[in-house]
């Protein structure tokens, strides 16, 4: 088959099994767009901003596990994509971003719409490529998908100079089925000796704790994790990125840990004697003050990325490998083990944990005349049977979503944890809906975050993507306001967000349905009504209690056990 570079790009995507590309055209990618026009296999979703394209591709990837694909033009198209690329990078999401570049002969001449995309994106990609010859195009694209989706996943940029896609230059094309790279071979199988040592420690533990993160979801290892956890009968906590990897309604689950995690999860971390970290990266939002982190614990860490191990916290038994594989091996080994779990010690440990649980740290005022954001999320969980895809933006609403929606399946909870990108929620939700047109998809957001990518209401209309936007409108950058309340004597510097569009009319202007809800008794009805409209995007503007804060809270730099339940720093 003789194809031009532009046709190779599109044919390759088809051969690679890519069904959807999120993008925005421009000069440098016009040849590619022309090739897209002349076929029907690869569907192009036109966003309203390149940031929206990368977030939508990201949401698509997180929901499906397949790499998301974005296509942007050179210069401003490429720079607009950077926030989305960095967002995917920090959460290890497989993304392939194709950016146009000026023709090779112009590179370096400050040509029209030229930026050094390889240079600009370098610190926030897993890898990137500049295509220097049309004959390298197919193999480079193959490498990009391979690198993005294997090992610790991440975004890969392929920068494509316009002249390498010249429709006048045709070359033979064959889909490169296999690729091997001598410089890139992620370790999959864990070291058997380390696994034995780890199990010995795990089985001998008296106050064990399983701390699991986004890696479990990336590894598709929820089943193995659930079996492992239930075989042991040990308590388990998830990071913000790991929610759903273990059923959120199960009794062994003690909730999320970290800055806004539950009392029981953080206390159990603090008091445990053996900590098993699985696909979690000891982020500072989780550890708090490193010096006070799990002071009594011997630590086992399973991770595919050796650089995650002993980066922030020194561990005793590292196991480098893919979680699915390692847990499968561990389960096998566990069954044949002679050493038995000290069930009495574990029963005592559970007794202690249940005492911590009794503090009911996620309590809130259920009799308030104002709508409490927690209540909205609780009702959302009920109305959707805990089975919707839920994306979120960044702020208090994100934490309420994490605390109050009980995720029972992996890939249902989609949020920007590492970069904390406001504006992520809605385009991500649209990406999810593109992948699963019939599934219920909700985007929990705030009046400030939503305005960062609100233009994607246009994309939603064009492709009839009936997501439900749950706007927890507190008229503040609530998370910022909370910090100012606690640490800046209530000086709410630039965090008041009272000047907003009429969100109902805004939704309507875009051809969607808008609803404003300002009484607690209307919350459930509105949610039911919205989800009953299966083919409509409904924007629900919930007017919530402006002063609500997220608790528990560990102030930055404090120990895990120093949790607070009020701005007066009442300790739990």
């Amino acid at each position: 088959m003789e194809l031009s570079g532009a046709e190779i790009v599109v044919q390759f995507l088809k051969d690679e099994g890519v069904e959807h590309v999120f993008g925005y055209p421009g000069g440098a990618v016009l040849h590619i767009y022309d090739a897209i026009f002349r076929q029907d296999d690869v569907k192009h979703i036109l966003t309203r901003h390149e940031q929206g394209a990368t977030h939508a591709a990201d949401g698509y990837a997180r929901a499906t596990g397949k790499p998301g694909v974005a296509l942007v033009t050179s210069g401003p198209g490429a720079t607009n994509a950077i926030t989305g690329i960095a967002t995917a990078y920090l959460d290890s999401v497989p993304l392939v971003v194709l950016s146009g570049q000026v023709p090779r002969a112009f590179i370096g001449s400050d040509a029209f719409q030229e930026v050094d995309m390889v240079g600009i994106s370098r610190p926030c990609v897993k890898h990137n490529f500049l295509v220097k010859d049309v004959r390298e195009l197919a193999s480079t694209l193959k490498k990009a998908f391979y690198v993005a989706s294997t090992g610790r996943p991440g975004p890969v940029v392929v920068d494509i100079p316009k002249d390498t896609t010249d429709p006048g230059v045709k070359i033979p094309y064959e889909y490169p089925k296999e690729i091997s790279m001598r410089s890139y071979n992620p370790t999959v199988k864990g070291h058997p000796g380390q696994i034995k040592r780890a199990l010995d420690l795990i089985v001998g533990a008296r106050r064990p704790m399983l701390y699991t993160g986004g890696g479990v979801i990336l590894s598709e290892a929820s089943e193995e994790l659930t079996e492992f956890t239930q075989t042991l009968g040990y308590p388990i906590t998830n990071t913000l990125m790991g929610l759903g990897a273990y059923p959120g309604m199960d009794k062994q689950f003690v909730g999320m840990l970290g800055m806004h995690g539950t009392y029981e999860a953080n206390m159990a971390m603090h008091e445990c004697d053996v900590l098993v970290a699985i696909g979690a990266r000891f982020d500072d939002r989780v550890t708090g003050d490193i010096k006070q982190f799990c002071p009594n614990a011997r630590i086992i860490h399973i991770d595919i990325d050796p650089s995650s191990i002993s980066k922030n916290v020194r561990v005793d038994i590292p196991i480098v490998g893919d979680i699915k594989q390692v847990l499968t091996d561990m389960l096998k080994e566990l069954k044949g083990l002679k050493k038995k779990i000290d069930s009495k010690a574990i029963a005592n440990w559970w007794q202690q944990i249940d005492k911590w649980r009794d503090t009911d740290c996620l309590r809130y005022d259920r009799n308030s005349a104002l709508i409490k954001p927690q209540y909205v999320v609780e009702k959302l969980c009920e109305v959707t049977g805990g089975d919707a895809f839920v994306t979120s933006d960044v702020g208090q609403h994100q934490m309420f979503a994490a605390q109050f929606y009980k995720f029972n399946k992996p890939r249902r909870w989609i949020n920007s944890g590492g970069l904390g990108t406001m504006g992520f929620g809605m385009p991500a939700a649209l990406g999810v809906q593109v992948a699963y047109p019939d599934a219920p998809v909700a985007c929990i957001t705030g009046e400030s975050s939503i305005q960062m990518c609100v233009q994607e209401l246009g994309m939603a209309l064009q492709y009839q993507l009936p997501i439900k936007v749950i706007n927890l409108n507190n008229g503040y950058m609530g998370m910022v306001r909370q910090w100012q309340e606690f640490f800046y004597e209530k000086r709410y510097s630039q965090s008041v967000m009272e000047v907003n569009p009429d969100f109902v009319k805004l939704a309507e202007a875009y051809g969607h349905i808008g609803m404003r809800i300002d009484k607690p008794q209307d919350v459930e009805g509105a949610l039911k009504e919205a989800f009953a409209m299966k083919d409509k995007l409904v924007f629900l503007d919930f007017v919530t209690d402006r002063g609500e804060n997220v608790y528990p809270m560990i102030a930055a730099g404090k120990g895990q056990h120093e949790m607070h339940m009020s701005p007066e720093w009442e300790l739990i």
């Binding site: 240079g119 610190p123 897993k126 001598r182 410089s183 890139y184 650089s307 980066k311």
Partner: protein, 164 residues
């Protein structure tokens, strides 16, 4: 602690900037860096000298290993090794006394005078960094016009080697 890290990397445009970018982005120290193609033209060999605690150097080697262009890596300071650096140094040598002094020092340090002009000599000298420092110290009474150092390169002793 000072560490010498040797790496084999794909001879690709951009590979060098990935390494340099990693060091600046993560705030690691970099004392010197040298790079050149190997006998296999598809690969370059880089030698990096860095300092940091054991934890930091462990992270540095892990982060380097993670770069997709890096094929293989070794911290050669972990075992017996040889390190060498080349220096070219231009000094004033306009009268007989100066010339004699510079020549004498060069001989003591087993250097070579490789360019002789009316007013100056250029000397080539190799050794580890300390030796080159010592040579500069020894020449302090002469006027040094210019020095250029290659940065450290190194190789493990014996059977240990870095190849694919």
């Amino acid at each position: 602690m000072r560490h010498i890290i040797s790496l084999l990397m794909e001879n690709e445009a951009g590979a060098l900037s990935r390494v340099a970018g990693l060091f600046s982005a993560r705030g690691y120290n970099i004392e010197s860096l040298t790079v050149a193609p190997t006998e296999d033209p598809t690969m370059s060999r880089m030698t990096l000298v860095t300092t940091g605690s054991e934890d930091i150097v462990e992270q540095i080697t892990k982060q380097l290993n993670k770069l997709v262009d890096i094929v293989k890596l070794a911290d050669i300071t972990e075992g017996e090794h040889i390190e060498r650096e080349l220096m070219l140094i231009k000094v004033m040598a306009s009268n007989a006394e100066q010339r004699e002094e510079v020549k004498r020092m060069t001989d003591i340090f087993r250097g070579r005078v490789i360019d002789v002009k009316d007013a100056n000599f250029t000397i080539e000298i190799t050794g580890d960094g300390n030796k080159l420092d010592a040579f500069i110290d020894a020449l302090q009474h002469s006027d040094i016009i210019e020095t250029v150092r290659s940065g450290t390169t190194g190789i493990s002793r014996g059977a240990k080697c870095l190849h694919i």
